[in-house]
Symmetry: C5
Subunit: 354 residues, 5 copies
């Protein structure tokens, strides 16, 4: 299966804006949760019917609607109608192979990005698509399945930690993004440690398994980069957008977030370079080992082949072979062979092969 | 034949704007089809004489004129006269080696691009040139031969699916482009799956055939890139152009298309990098195998060459060779050889070669 | 001789604007040809004395003065005086190692570029410098020697083909440039075909000659690029210049030319990449062959060295060597050797070397 | 441990602006030092309580508050309150894994950068974070531990050397930055000398230790680059900022500093390229050595294997083997072998292997 | 010694603008020469005391003050006072490790660049720093030692050649720069010829010396690039500066100079690429040779090892070995061996190894 590229086969030839779910259905039932708050009140509930969300559309409070599961096209269409979402926006939410991007619509900002997770046993990064619709009065997030990294944000809302209860929807969106990027960095870190560990191994024991490891890390780093870099672009765009949906005092926080994500992309580049260097070291080490092997072979061959030849001579059955009949021939023969062997050894010593 | 570059030999030295067909004639007769529609009416017909197209020039309906086959220069000239097309525009349509581009003329926009097709048996991408003339009242498309990816668009027009019947020529042009880019992505995907499959093979069985595969994929990816990247530039240009031929509500769709094509170019780059990595793995694997081979050779040589030498000594015919005459010489001789062999094995064990 | 860089030794330390001819004199006598035309009249003649050119300076007709041969400094100086050319301009014309460029002077535009020619027997690209002075009433072109690619343009002037007789000096300049760029593309094509042919050879028979070919193509592509890329820059500059010497209806043609030259530079880059890939394939193929060779050696050595050792044992002359005296020893000995050989073969089979 | 990336695990999920110290505590007690001066007066003291710093907040003199040690969160919070520092600013100071950057706040400029130190025994660069808060009336610097490169600046303040006592806070900040960048250059220099020394070694004795050295230098250069390049960006930003905190006559000094840091980044790039070249030389040298080894083996094998074969023939025990019984057979046999050996030597001579 | 980076150790920690000479003193006494001229008068003299230069500060003539030797700090300080030079400017003049740059001061332009010289016996490029102070009424140049490339310019001033006596200080500065850049090109040329010569050698006889040569050229090209590229930047900056010190009619000359230096940087890049290609060819050639060597070894081993084995069999002393006693055994034995040998040869022939 093409992991780096999601199948769009199903949507081929359909009218743009047609709703098709592209991806694997990861959850049986769609779950709709609402957190609605302002400075003094907090309301947290789960909706059974998407129609109930209409009540939250125009309130003055901060409304965060979170949808887990994207396969229910009918519900999505209804949601689109309630919140007046552009067909292209809905199409992008449903296409989980979407490249991270920011788009400005008349009534809202749309941000599509990836949350990533490291599956240690398979040594594979899994990306899940997160879509955000940021409007004046509500924030809607779409995830492929339940389970996310946002619990700390929910806690801060519940426990009134930090400024989150005193600020608006833009700050909530920022807080979620911040958590996602924090998670990027934490995963890059974890991979990074493993990469730095390989460095030692490559020098001491360069075997094909090490090469395989290096290539796995390389592939995963590329995979992360595919999620991180477009998000950086989207953030830059958001900062230049001058949308009235983003208030002035959130800008400083977004700039800080941009720094964080810049750090992440630089870390990815650093590790990619490091992996390239490791591959070079690996290849050089392989060549070095080959030299070692060849030296051993050559030394053995070059010493014993001439000796065997000499022994061969005195194994011939010529009628007249004078040396065979002298008394000390055998010992002279040995002496000669030892001299030859020592000469060869000296020769290899001088060539620095021993 | 230079596949990456179409012969222009025939046009050398001709006046600019001269009509010459550059390419291979792929169809015997030119086919002219017209689809003419508005919200309520639809008219689909095939023209036998190009002169009949004049009737559609200034209508208020959306007119889509599709020409299959480019070799009939006379007809092209007549068409140029009817629709008032710039000689350079006609020249570009006829030159199937044209680089994808957008050009603005007084009365129309001209867009030249490639449709691609994957011939599985030859493992080769085939590109066909598609030219579009977008005016206020008509859209003319030129293809090298019948058969295209536009059938779903025609269906949507016929069955009034989506917004296509309610929008203008710019949306029709967008819908066609969208189909072409969808097709790019679908082909990149298909190649991509094959590329990801090779990864396994490269590690387990690095043979020259794998290398050949990798290089074939590389070449095809480069070939696709040659079609996709200039189209992205052309789209960017179109978005900046601020032409009155493109209405405001189509812009959002074109932006979406730009995202799609950006995704395609990034996928191409990702796969190209992946192929480079695979080549590196391939080369490292080859080196590893060489090491394996050399180890086997060295171990055999280093064990048996000394033994053969010892046997050689006692095969000599010296008159006086005391060891030959002791009773247990032969067994001591065996014992000694076994000790030598074991010593060698221990040596290689310590060197980690066994 | 440094082919990539023309000797400027002679001009070192001279005052800027001093007239020195840098290059090899390729023609004995300077030849001066004039083509002077408007819509209805055409006058084609050869001048013996440069002073005669004065008559054409301020006419209303289109005057094309073509100089073949640059070594006559005195004549160049006189020409400079007649047409009021800046000393730096004259210096640049005479320096055939000049990088292609566009320069704007008070009374004219100066364009310096290269015409290229492929010498098949030497497999070498030869570049000749072409300088153009574009003024309001005349176009002067300077070539190093007679013989150029402009004959079709002259023909079009003579036979009133195309729009050339109805347009001005800017269009004439464009027509000449178009011919030069057409020629670039035709040569790149020809090289390109040879490059695509090498691809096959590299896979089937990687020998040093193939490598030499690849490197020759690489060098020639670099050589062409040195001529083509700066011309593209110069054209871009010309389009941005907004000079009154270039009329509005010529702009569209220049844009078309820019597309053509962009296509040329992209083709060069594509072929350069292709050559790099071929070198990689070549190197991998060499490694593969090495593996093949080593396998053969190892198989032979590993099978026969142990056998030879066994034979060696029974060639020893020990007094007491019981096996020698059994009746079927020799056949058992053969059987044992065959078993050893088969075991080795099975071993190599399992290692996939056979 | 991931050296290229500081653990942020502790801060994950916290509200932005929460104070968490990220890094290793390198000092037991925080030390607060104040240098307060103008043209005529100088006041240097150590504070025990951060609350005492309040007195310096609004003076007309230049106040430099230096904090060594970052782990005391309570104190940092108090300092933040006294000097009215933005929570994000405080968070950045405490995160020692911060990427160098400049940020503009309402009341101050914030600059985060790295001081580097070369630990010779471990051949490792150590980076310490330095944060600067530049306001109208004070400069606060934060270091991870006591001990810095600023002693010369303090001396210049004490001894009224140069213009430092006559200028303001911006010049003081510049002077500190200048010292830090000077230190970068001095460390790059020291590494650079070692790198240039390796060049010789790589050619004469390419052993795995040399490769390890090259890779160590590469890694350290990358590590330095991670500190230097973002600082250059920050400086560029500072010059474009047009902040009123930076006076006009300091600009020239900052431009000079920018030149210095540009020189540093170019030196890093030069050395990185040099190291790449050295790795290439290393690999070529390894291949060359392999060739040498193989030549020796081949020469020995090709000379003695045929000779041994010849001796083997006359060691056979055929009843009827006529050559054995001629009188001079043995000498002819020797002569033949010598001819064979000389022929082989001549062959290798002609192949240029000897 | 770090050749790519001048020691700044001495200046570490000093106040910015402190005068320290960084470099090697290359001349015993400082020499001060003045050339003062206008259209009709010329005055050329050597000053013993820097104080005498004051007389030339405000004249209407063109004054060129040339200082050879930079180590006399006192004199430099005095000069600085007389001509009112900024301390940073003086510091930059004295730092011979300065990166080429242009800086604008209130009363003058400051240009720092490198003159280069090729020491053939050491095959090393030597760079000497040249600093220029361009004011309204004087030009001061600073060199590390006497001896420069400016003699032709002095001659042109003395002999009234070209326009130099009729133009101002800006043209004089241009004339000097032109000479320096001419010298760059002449040295690049000379290296370039040697590089193009190596190409042949690499193909015919790839030995480690060739590799060393290639790497030397690479290093020197990098060294030159370090001088040339920043000068190009400085020139670009100068052209954008719109300083009143540069008159309009000098601009055209500076543009011409920019073309020249662009040509130089492109030539450097071309040669660097060529050297990279040569290294690749070198490595491929080494691999090819290895293949050749291995083939010879394998052919010898594969032919003679089986033969030796066969001979070994008939050298055994089995009591019952029937073949030994047939009359024609020995000839059959030879025949068999010849068949084996021919079979092997045919095998290698088919494998294309012979």
């Amino acid at each position: 299966m093409a992991r780096f590229f999601k199948k769009r086969e199903e949507s081929k030839g359909l009218a743009p804006g047609s709703l098709v779910f592209i991806g694997n259905q990861k959850v049986e039932n769609v779950r709709i949760r609402v957190i609605d708050y302002d400075k003094s009140n907090l309301n947290e509930l789960q909706l059974d019917d998407i129609a109930d969300s209409k009540a939250f559309k125009e309130t003055n409070t901060v409304t965060w609607l979170n949808i887990d599961g994207l396969h229910d096209l009918e519900m999505m269409q209804e949601l689109g109608n309630i919140f007046d979402l552009h067909p292209l926006l809905l199409e992008d939410i449903l296409n989980t192979g979407q490249r991270p991007k920011l788009e400005e619509f008349d009534n809202c900002l749309f941000l599509s990005l990836k949350m990533i997770r490291y599956e240690k046993e398979k040594q594979v990064i899994i990306a899940e698509q997160l879509s955000m619709v940021i409007s004046n009065t509500y924030l809607i997030t779409f995830q492929e399945q339940p389970g996310d990294v946002f619990e700390p944000v929910r806690d801060r809302i519940r426990k009134q930690k930090g400024r989150i209860r005193e600020t608006g929807i833009d700050y909530l969106a920022y807080a979620l993004l911040d958590t996602v990027v924090d998670n990027y960095i934490s995963i890059i870190e974890r991979l990074g440690e493993q990469i730095e560990d390989v460095e030692e191994e490559v020098l001491t024991d360069p075997n094909p398994l090490v090469m395989q490891k290096i290539n796995t890390f390389k592939r995963e780093m590329n995979y992360i980069r595919k999620s991180v870099r477009p998000l950086k672009e989207a953030l830059l765009q958001l900062l230049k957008l001058d949308s009235e949906l983003i208030k002035d005092n959130t800008i400083q926080f977004l700039k800080d977030l941009l720094d964080l994500i810049t750090q992440a992309t630089e870390a990815i580049d650093t590790y990619r370079e490091m992996l390239s260097d490791q591959l070079n070291i690996y290849n050089s080490s392989i060549s070095n080992r080959m030299n070692e092997i060849m030296k051993v072979l050559t030394i053995f061959a070059a010493i014993f082949i001439p000796l065997t030849f000499i022994a061969g001579i005195y194994g011939t059955n010529f009628d007249y072979l004078p040396e065979l009949h002298f008394k000390y021939s055998y010992f002279i023969f040995w002496g000669f062979m030892i001299i030859v062997a020592l000469t060869m050894l000296a020769f290899f010593k001088r060539k620095n092969w021993l």
